[in-house]
């Protein structure tokens, strides 16, 4: 079986218009890739929302990136100032990957 090494999985729920900003910050943190996943609806302290393509302002993506500890830390540092103003939800958990040198 191929060796699997632990890396960090970071997921950030982010408004569609702000996703490019997150991508830019992940590049600055040295993270080499990411994937965006569309979400449909949700609810939080600020009320509920639904995917909305006509205005486009209230659609949300899950930004998913896998990185090593160091880059993950750097990324979390970079997005910390945006947490409140951008309404981000940040999840971080360990995951095993094959070919760990990629991340």
């Amino acid at each position: 079986m191929p060796e699997m090494i632990t890396r960090v999985r970071i997921e950030v729920l982010v408004d569609a218009p702000l996703a490019p900003r997150l991508v830019k910050l992940s590049r600055e943190a040295g993270i080499t890739g990411h994937t965006l996943i569309r979400t449909t609806s949700g609810e939080g302290r600020q009320g509920s929302w639904k995917e909305d393509l006509v205005s486009g302002a209230t659609a949300k993506f899950i930004f998913l990136a896998v990185a090593n500890q160091e880059r993950a830390d750097r990324f979390v540092d970079l997005i910390e100032p945006l947490l409140e103003s951008h309404g981000l939800l940040v999840l971080r958990s360990p995951t095993d990957v094959i070919r760990p040198e990629r991340f």
């Binding site: 900003r21 929302w49 393509l53 006509v54 205005s55 302002a57 209230t58 659609a59 103003s85 951008h86």
Partner: protein
Amino acid sequence: MSDIAATLLSAPILFFILGVLAAAARSDLAVPETVAKGLSLYLMAAIGLKGGVEVAKAGITPNLILALVAGLLLSALIPFFVAPVLRRFGRLDGVNAGAVAAHYGSVSVVTFVTASQVYGNTGFVVAGFMVAVLALMETPAIISGLLLARRYAAAQNGSGGSGIDRELLREVLFNGSVVLLLGSFAIGLLIGEPGFEPIAPLFRSGFTGVLCLFLLDMGLVAMRRLRDTRALTGRLVMLGIFFPLVNGVLGALTGTLIGLDPASAAGLAVLAASASYIAVPAAMRLALPQANAGLYLAMSLGVTFPFNIVIGIPLYRMIAETLGGW
């Protein structure tokens, strides 16, 4: 009043009302987001094309230039009247006041499209060049709203919006709806009536029908937004009706003063009275992420949009006709 009745009894408006009622009854009726987006692209392409074709026929007149300048000024200046009212009467903080104000300076494409259609069906025809005015009015208000937000913030602690970076500038200048409207307008200008003929079945004959389906969705969306929001106060609802009234009168007056025919003056009134829910919300998420998106969408989509569709459109016509009759 029979004007209002005639408007209310036209198919697009009735579909809008059906959407509102369905959402109010918590029906699960829904138009898929991607379909609604497709319909809105169609409407923008069609209105742009038709405007361009008409200008190709009528030629570029001084009226056109005057209307463009007037539209630009209205879009840029309305936020300066709206924002202080939002702060004082609406009790919003500076950032939210700036963000909401930008919406009211800008325009709603669908409100304009619906008005043109409803007016046109009774022989009250808005000039083709008003589409160019529509496109031009989308973005100046964004700059004004940001200036206001920054000025307010600076008065407090010196950290307003993050300023206008490249990302935002692109959003403002090359916003999808602006590009599509102006691009289709230019294409209409280039191809003229003969070149438009092969595509007229889709873009002219199909238009009112598509508008019905789109307004059905807008009714659902507007009502659901009103229902789900937590940010709307009674005062803000009042402002969501007060602003279009004042701006509509302002637009009708301006249009009449610069010599537009009554229908085009009514068109300018509709533009001034309407509030954006496409270009501006996206720009505000970028430039003022700390502003409450639920708030500005609830006001523009949930309050002002329905008011304009049902009451504003016939009202602005009456005002423009009265002013034009002087």
